[in-house]
Structure formats: structure tokens, C-alpha cells
Amino acid sequence: MLFRNVAELVELAESKQVKIAEIMIQQEIEVTGLSREEIIAKMDRNLTVMEQAVERGLNGVTSVSGLTGGDAVLLQKYIQSGKALSGNILLDAVSKAVATNEVNAAMGTICATPTAGSAGVVPGTLFAVKEVLNPTRMEMIEFLFTSAAFGFVVANNASISGAAGGCQAEVGSASGMAAASIVELAGGTPRQAAEAMAITLKNMLGLVCDPVAGLVEVPCVKRNAMGASNAMTAADMALAGITSRIPCDEVIHAMFLIGQSMPSALRETAEGGLAATPTGRRLEAEIFGKKN
């Protein structure tokens, strides 16, 4: 292993004067024994899957339960109306994140990043910033390797599972990964990427996993929307030179400890939070009363 935490990752990229993405690729070569070309081709295929999922979601889909679908389309129309307040790139990222998760809920093909429930944030932000930064295909592939590097640290030092660590571990991790990748694609330094990850994750701490009827739909789709906007904002803050007072690795460790002390009702059991609201319970009864 070349790195075990964010500090080591950043130091390595700085001393070698390469991108974080390059460190991840080098580690992958070392661990798997595959060639650089094979590894890049594999990530290229994942990128194509993400591209197709976004496209499909922007054309409008509906889930099996009927709980989710069509919001990505609404948002795109709203952007086109020219009345959007938050800025078109930000809302484009949000709509593309939503698009991916709507496809996921409709049993479409997606690439888990890092999980299926949080699969919208990384591609959503990538395909939005693509419109302004005009990256090459290779730079887009590198975006995913940078995300992988930060996700790798979280997965091994904390968790990327809602059942283990709540939504902070899923959408929280995905948002931190995306923020770091945006910074790197925009020309920021490895250290700024780590700052963006820390700033994002700090604002996702404590987020519970409380899916209505146990389905990966409500609130998961909209959590991906907010994850994408959180990532975009944090990336801009880091690029502006703002740093996190708490270092990234310590934020990740805090997330791990928060996950451990989170009650089981709020970790993907559909027993607490939004799942246990009167409407959540009514929807659950409607879906399973109708289908089972």
C-alpha cells in the first residue's frame, strides 16, 4: 500500500509532484498486478456507464414503487427557464446527481460510487463541471481515480456503508470524494483537494440512514442532490484558499466514531427517522400492501 490516510496521500502527491489520481493509479498497478492500460480502460468503462445513466435520467424515469423519478427533468427545465437562483453549474450538478439515483431506483444500470445509494454525487458533479472546464477523456478518468483515492481512505479507516455508519458514510463519503476531485480537475493542489474533502465531510457528519420502506429512494435521491451541491460549494471554498481547521483524517475518524454511536434504528433498518414518520409508514404500507 502506498498510502493509508489522507495525509500520506497528499504528501506522496506533493513529493512526486503528481496528481492524487496518479498515486491511485500507481497503487492499483501495485495491488492488482494489472497494467496501467488495463486499469485505465476499466475506469473508462465505468465512466461510460455513469455517462449513460445521467443521460437516461435526464430523459425521465420512474421507479418500480413510484416514489421517485422525474425530478432531474424538472430541474433541467427550471435551469433552462433562466430563473434559477443558485447558479446553473451548481443546479446542473444537482440535476445530474438526481438523474443517476433516479435511474438506480428504476433498476437501471449505474456504477456504485462508493455505493448504489450514493451513486449520483460523483458523476453528477463531474458532468456538470465538464461543461465549464472542458476536460479531456483522460482527465475525466483521473477525476474518478481521485475520488477512488479519497473513498479508499474513508472505506478503510471509517465506513462507506449506511448499515454500519449511516448516510454520512454513503452520501457523506461520496460528497467528500467528489469535492476533492472537482478541486483537482479545476487545477487545485493535492492539499486543496484534501481541504475540500474535509470541509464537505464536516458538513455531512451525523447524517442518518433512514430510507422509507427500506427502499433506496426516499430520502436517498434528494440526499444525493444536496451531496452534490455540498461538494461544489466546498470545492469552491477550497479553491478560494479556505482551509479546514480540523485536518481531513481527523474528520474521517470523527465520522467513524459518530457512526459507531449511531443507534441501529438510524442505520438502514427503516425503523427510525423519516422511515418512521406517519407518511413514511403510510407509504411503506401502500407499497408492500400492494405488492406483497
Partner: protein, 220 residues
């Protein structure tokens, strides 16, 4: 380190909506299919815990049947697998069980045809990762991620070393191995996960050994 590859984080490519309830379920079905080695005539699928409660909404049912049809996690035929199974001549029965299992996402799959039957219990432990925990009432631990050899044999001395000697002769490294038995001196099962590909010829060599009654090859 629990996660080793960039593709554990960016991946797998899969049919939604859930890495544990859909992708993992499809993987369990596919391992069962590989162990059975052909399309079964009939499949009885018993769902436990969270699988039993949420299988319709997560598509756990179509994912398992898709796996039994040898579909990978990203196969777009998964949503229509029930119909495809019927067309292929496989009868599918679902049973929702109340029994509390050790892991919340547990499924028992019984496969039948004119020649034989097979019982597999699998659990989906998160992010699409699975374990096979039972095979024909033998307890075992099989990830399905590596090539593996399963050997049913009489519980007698020398069988294990004879099998591993054959693997050594072919320069095949063992990554994980375990042996279980139903009763002392009766039937036993060896599960050997290996790093290299296993040729059919090696399987034939193992089958010829005294006290070996059945072998199953699992290719990744």
C-alpha cells in the same frame, strides 16, 4: 485493509437500486448456478430477514433469478428475469420465511433437475459483497470472488493431502481452505479457494482419488 482496489470504491457496475439487496442477491444466485453447473428445472428461493421484508421493492427476487440464469450484476435482463426464467423452462417458487437468521440479508436456494439437487445458503454483507455459508447442509465460507474447488469426500486420513498434492504438482497456490464434516468418519466437504485457473484435467485427477465422491469447480 478491508478494501484494496480503486474499483471497490468506483464500482461495481450494477443494476439498481441496492448494492446489497440487488447486486449481492444476483451474485448469490449466480454462484448457486455455477455450483449447480447448468440451468435447473426448478428453483425454490427462501428469503429471510431484510430480504424477506423488502425483496419486491429492491428487486431482490429478479436479481436472484437473474443470477440463476447466469446474469452478472450489470445485466440489463435482470428486471425481466422472471419472464426469461419461465421461457427458459425454469420453475421459480418464492418463500418468505419468518425465522430469524444470523445475518439480516439471507437467502436459501434449492435447485432441482432430473439428475440432482443442490441447496445453497448465501448472505449479502454489504456493497455487493457476498458469502456462501451453507452447501447441502455443510457449513462453509465461500466468497465467489476467486476460483475454487469443492470436494465432497469420505472423512478419512490422507484425502486432504492427496488433493493438495495434486494442486501443488500443478503449481496452484491455495488462498483459503476449509474442511467440514457432518459426522466423524462420514461425509466431508473441502473448500479450496485458489489464485490460479483450474483446468478440467486437474478436476478429473482429483475425482479419481480414493474416497473422493464428488467435485465442483467454481470459476470466477
Amino acid at each position: 485493509m478491508k478494501y484494496r482496489s480503486a474499483f471497490d470504491i468506483i464500482g461495481p457496475v450494477m443494476i439498481g437500486p441496492s448494492s446489497s439487496h440487488t447486486a449481492g442477491a444476483a451474485r448469490i444466485g449466480r454462484v448457486a448456478r455455477t455450483l449447480f453447473n447448468r440451468l435447473p428445472k426448478k428453483a425454490v428461493i427462501s428469503l429471510y430477514g431484510s430480504f424477506a421484508k423488502t425483496y419486491k421493492g429492491h428487486g431482490t427476487d429478479v436479481a436472484i433469478v437473474g443470477g440463476l440464469l447466469d446474469f452478472d450484476t450489470f445485466d440489463e435482463r435482470i428486471p425481466t428475469s422472471l419472464q426469461l426464467a419461465e421461457e427458459a423452462g425454469m420453475e421459480v417458487v418464492f418463500q418468505v420465511e419468518d425465522t430469524v437468521t444470523e445475518h439480516p440479508n439471507t437467502v436459501r436456494i434449492n435447485l432441482y433437475d432430473d439428475q440432482s439437487d443442490l441447496e445453497v445458503v448465501g448472505i449479502s454483507i454489504g456493497g455487493g459483497t457476498i458469502e456462501i455459508t451453507e452447501l447441502n447442509s455443510f457449513e462453509l465460507k465461500l466468497s465467489g470472488e476467486h476460483p475454487a474447488i469443492l470436494v465432497v469426500h469420505n472423512d478419512q486420513f490422507g484425502v486432504i493431502s492427496a488433493v493438495t498434492q495434486i494442486l501443488a504438482n500443478h503449481e496452484i497456490n491455495i488462498g483459503h481452505m476449509e474442511v467440514s464434516r457432518k459426522e466423524k468418519g462420514k461425509m466431508a466437504l473441502m473448500v479450496i479457494e485458489v489464485d490460479q485457473k483450474i483446468d478440467q484435467e486437474i478436476m478429473k485427477e482429483i475425482e479419481k482419488l480414493p474416497n473422493v465422491t464428488q467435485t465442483i469447480r467454481m470459476v470466477d
